[in-house]
């Protein structure tokens, strides 16, 4: 099934009809693990959408003044007020880790084991940096600014609960991703994807396609941050 030569199949809308009319697999040339990861990410998209839509609903239905994120998340550096400084740095760190992940996938398919493993490690360190900065952000808002899920000194009481829920859920995704990135860096360094060594939990053989599937998850985490950055921090 996965040996099918997709270059011989019709493309575009004809390919769409052909694939859905097929009597076997629909997603030609897509390994089952990748299809399942995409379906999972689609469901995760709906969860994050629900969070952001409820943020929109709360924000536009409250009569209280919504705290201005630009000021709440501003930092004072050498006596100068810089708006959203930490958030901007976090954004660049996450994009950078997404870039290293994309390259890891590329080198994985080229069977360049060492390059692939080092790039996964770099991605993991980028993710760890992001979570670290988020922990700093949270502690500043909790201990210094007194923001709570039930109220804050800046305005509408709902602000805190949405902040902790949305960034917390995203941070959890990043943390889980970092754990898997470290595990996969070790597996790649050890050559599991070349030797077909069986996984510890799954007891299944794997190959470099697994890196692409992990990459899909990691890019999704970056993708969600793009929307959180736009709707929570900038709006």
């Amino acid at each position: 099934m996965s040996d099918i030569d997709i270059s011989k199949l019709p493309k575009g809308s004809k390919g769409f009809v052909h694939d859905f009319a097929a009597d076997q697999t629909t997603f030609k040339g897509v390994p089952w693990g990748k299809a399942m990861m995409w379906i999972f990410l689609l469901s995760d998209t709906f969860i994050f959408s629900c969070f952001l839509i409820s943020l929109m609903t709360a924000r536009s239905s409250t009569t209280a003044e919504w705290p201005y994120p630009s000021e709440v998340f501003g930092l004072t550096v050498f006596g100068v007020e810089v708006p959203l400084l930490l958030i901007a740095i976090m954004t660049f760190v996450l994009i950078t880790s997404s870039g290293t992940m994309a390259l890891a996938v590329k080198y994985g398919y080229e069977r360049n084991r060492k390059m692939c493993a080092w790039l996964i490690l770099a991605t993991a360190i980028g993710g760890l940096t992001f979570v670290g900065m988020q922990a700093f952000e949270w502690s500043k808002l909790i201990f210094h600014d007194g923001i709570r899920p039930w109220g804050n000194p800046f305005g509408a009481a709902q602000f805190g609960s949405f902040f902790f829920m949305i960034t917390g859920f995203h941070g959890t995704h990043v943390s889980i991703g970092v754990i898997f990135l470290f595990i996969f860096a070790r597996k790649t360094f050890r050559g599991d994807f070349d030797t077909g060594r069986r996984g510890h939990f799954t007891s299944m053989k794997s190959d470099y396609k697994a890196i692409e599937i992990l990459g899909l998850y990691w890019h999704f985490v970056d993708l969600v941050w793009v929307f959180i950055f736009a709707f929570f921090y900038l709006w």
Binding site: G15, F46, S61, K106, E110, G215, V226, A230
Partner: protein, 109 residues
């Protein structure tokens, strides 16, 4: 396992570095929207424009959706219309909630 032992054809490193750079540029642009303190319709349209460009680049190139077959692309993108409908419904709902809140605050219930 034979197929796994041959090198797959991959995209050149250049395209990834280009997209990486573009994501940096567009993130800077969206940060500048806040830096220059644009307000109102200009702010919102710029935020959404840069957001969609970044999301599109990540999905198309980094997540390889541009090279996938239409079968999976359609399965993944059409459900987004349901989200847009949900946004429209909740916009109307929140405006009604806001209206009733103002009404009762003014009239005293």
């Amino acid at each position: 396992m034979e197929q796994n032992n041959k090198k797959a054809t991959t995209h050149s490193i250049g395209i990834y570095l280009w997209i990486w750079g573009l994501l940096f540029v567009f993130s800077t642009f969206s940060y500048l929207v806040d830096w220059y303190n644009f307000q109102g319709l200009l702010r919102w349209s710029l935020i959404i424009f840069f957001m969609l460009v970044k999301a599109g680049l990540i999905m198309a190139i980094f997540m390889h959706l541009y090279w996938e077959r239409w079968a999976i692309v359609n399965v993944l993108l059409w459900p987004m219309t349901a989200i847009m409908v949900f946004v429209a419904i909740m916009t109307a709902e929140s405006q009604y909630t806001f209206f009733t809140r103002v009404l009762f605050f003014v009239t005293g219930g």
